[in-house]
Every structure is written in C-alpha cells, then in structure tokens.
C-alpha cells in the first residue's frame, strides 16, 4: 500500500464529508442558518470535520498513533459547536417578537453538533472503503453516505403525530376561546377587535397518548408559534402585549388550541407550516413503550 493510495483515500473521503455537510446545510423555511456568514461558519467547521474523518484511518495505517490521538482531541472541539449555537440563538431570541423558546434552541444546537459527527462518520467510512477496495467503490460509498445522511438527520414532523384543523375563535365577554378551549382574558375592546379580525384559531388533536404528552410540552408549543410567525409574519409589536400568539391545552382530552396572529392571514399555509414543525427531541416521550407497569423495561 503506497502513500498515493492513501492520499486518494483522504481526498475522496474529504470530499464526501464536505458534500455531506453542504447537503445537510440548507436554509429552509425556518430561516436558519442565515446566508452568507452563518453558512461560512458551518461550512468551515464541516471542512475540518471532513478532514478529521478522512485522515483517521490513513494515520492508523501509517502507525501514527500520536496523530490519531490528536484527532480525538480535535473532535472534542465539536462539542463547542452546540454551545456556540445555543449562546447565539438565546441572545437573538430576546429580540424576537415570538421567541423560539429554550427547547427549540436546544434542539437546533443539538442538530448542528450531530451534523458534524455525521460528516466525520461519512468521511471515515469513505476512506475506509477506498483503502480496503479502490477509489471507484469509495466514490459510490461516499455518494450513498451523503444521501443516507439526510435520512439520519430528518426527524419526525408534527403532522405525523397530530391532526390539524382550523377552528373558530369566539369571545365570551372578556374570555377568548377557540371552539371550547379557553385561551385567555382580553380586557380592551380594541384588542378584542384586532384578535377577531386577524387571528386564526387552530385545534391540534393528538393521535395517541405519546403525542398527547409531546403536544403538552410548552417548548413544543412555542416552536409551533415561532415557526408560523417566521413564515407568515406576526401581527404584533412591542407595547401590544394582548396580541400574543399562544396555545392552551384542553386538559380533558389533550387537544391543543392555538391562537395565531399572522400578518398574512392564510389558513391553509398555516396548517402546512404547523404540520412541518419538527417534533422536538426534548418533547418526544414514548410512554406507550415504557412498560412502567412491568418494571420499566421495554
């Protein structure tokens, strides 16, 4: 095995890693990360991650154990990615009219850390294949890795665990309801008018007991409200505390009543957006699989 062969492995696997990162790095409707600087930060880290993954096996083959140790050390740095994302998003969140909420920020930060490890894994696997077999097989495995990475990183969306439908907002004196779910007390008639004119009521019905718990998570609710207001805008400003999109549970059956205040009052789009809200990992519980009554083993 000559050095050239190892170099080919490093280059192909490095490319596979970078491609994985680029493929996973896209500004979606949630508008994060932003272009261009948010991109560059993650791309740079992605290249480093790809480099780490691609040289790991060649370093072992060359019996360069020190280099391998350094790789492990460098990999630790990726833990800081999560910290960086968390700090930045938390700061930005204070300036949002409808904040993301702590749970959503943790979710995003976790995803960014995870994507770097996925990049390392994909580079590692590709370099392994090139060294074991040849460059052609390596390229094929690289492409497969890139495509599979999307599969690994796509979590569940809300439309797989709840049914979403529009519901009528109504006022009973000062109490605002969405159908039969109580939302809040609105005192001023000008606020009542603004809410009735611009608000959209939604009712989310959980499909099973597990999704009922997810839906009752406050962070998950805030994520829904944030996503809708990111895409459709929010009819709100500072000094208008009454115009707050919010969600309240019906404690009897776990349905979630939502008051949305989009600038663009588009019901169908709102339903689509809510359906595409990611189910937060911190909100995901699986009581049906816990088997608590049988000693807690699943």
């Amino acid at each position: 095995m000559n050095l050239d062969h190892l170099m080919v492995a490093v280059i192909i696997s490095g490319l596979a890693g970078v491609c994985t990162r680029i493929y996973l790095l896209q500004t979606d409707y949630r508008q994060y990360p932003t272009y261009p600087h948010g991109y560059i930060i993650h791309l740079a880290l992605g290249i480093i991650a790809a480099g780490l993954g691609s040289v790991a096996i060649p370093a072992l083959i060359k019996k360069d154990f020190t280099a391998f140790t350094f790789l492990a050390l460098a990999a630790q740095q990726f833990r800081d990615v999560r910290n960086m994302e968390r700090t930045m998003l938390s700061k930005i969140d204070q300036m949002e009219l409808v904040p993301r909420g702590v749970s959503y920020i943790e979710g995003i930060a976790m995803v960014f850390e995870g994507r770097n490890y996925l990049t390392i894994a994909s580079a590692l696997l590709t370099s392994f294949t090139v060294i074991m077999w040849n460059a052609t097989v390596g390229v094929i495995v690289g492409v497969v890795c890139v495509i599979c990475s999307r599969f690994f990183m796509s979590g569940k969306m809300l439309n797989s665990i709840v049914d979403i439908r529009e519901a009528k907002l109504r006022l009973d004196g000062a109490s605002l309801y969405v159908e039969d779910i109580y939302l809040m007390n609105v005192g001023l008639s000008s606020d009542k008018k603004a809410i009735m004119e611009n608000g959209i009521g939604m009712i989310l019905t959980p499909k099973d007991a597990s999704s009922r718990i997810t839906l009752s998570n406050v962070g998950q609710r805030q994520a829904i409200l944030h996503d809708v207001s990111t895409v459709l805008g929010v009819y709100r400003d500072t000094g208008e505390p009454a115009l707050t999109p919010l969600g309240k549970l019906d404690l009897k059956d776990g349905r979630l009543g939502l008051l949305l205040l989009p600038q663009d009052r588009n019901v169908q789009t709102s339903i689509d957006i809510i359906g595409k809200v990611p189910v937060l990992e911190s909100a995901m519980k699986k009581p049906l699989q816990a088997n608590a009554s049988r000693g807690g083993t699943s």
Partner: protein, 62 residues
C-alpha cells in the same frame, strides 16, 4: 411565568378595589377603556377584565 405582576388597576367602583398597585378611578365605561388602553401602551402590560367595572394591567413575562 412567576414574574407576573399587577401594575395598575383601573376601576369604576373605587370601593371594590384596594392594595399595593396604583388604582385609577374613572367615571364611565368609555373612560375605563380609554385609560386602560393608554396604560397598556405605556406599561407594556396586558389589560384583563376582572369584573365589568374593573380592569387590571398585568405584565406577563415571556
């Protein structure tokens, strides 16, 4: 959630309210609405109707 606070009370019936928050006494329903509206904008606190004659301004920390 623990940071909620009554910042002001606006009422038509002075004798029904008391306590540590500033109390604004008004003499008509229109004045009640108008003054609550002004206070809502100034204090950035939401107006709630406790009784038809009494509004409170509450700051919900979010």
């Amino acid at each position: 959630m623990s940071d909620q606070k009554i910042l002001a009370i606006v009422t038509l019936q002075k004798e029904t309210v008391a306590g540590g928050s500033p109390i604004f006494v008004v003499d008509s329903r229109e004045e009640l609405e108008r003054q609550s509206f002004t206070l809502e904008k100034i204090l950035d606190a939401m107006v709630h109707e406790v009784a038809p004659t009494t509004f409170i301004l509450v700051r919900h920390s979010d």
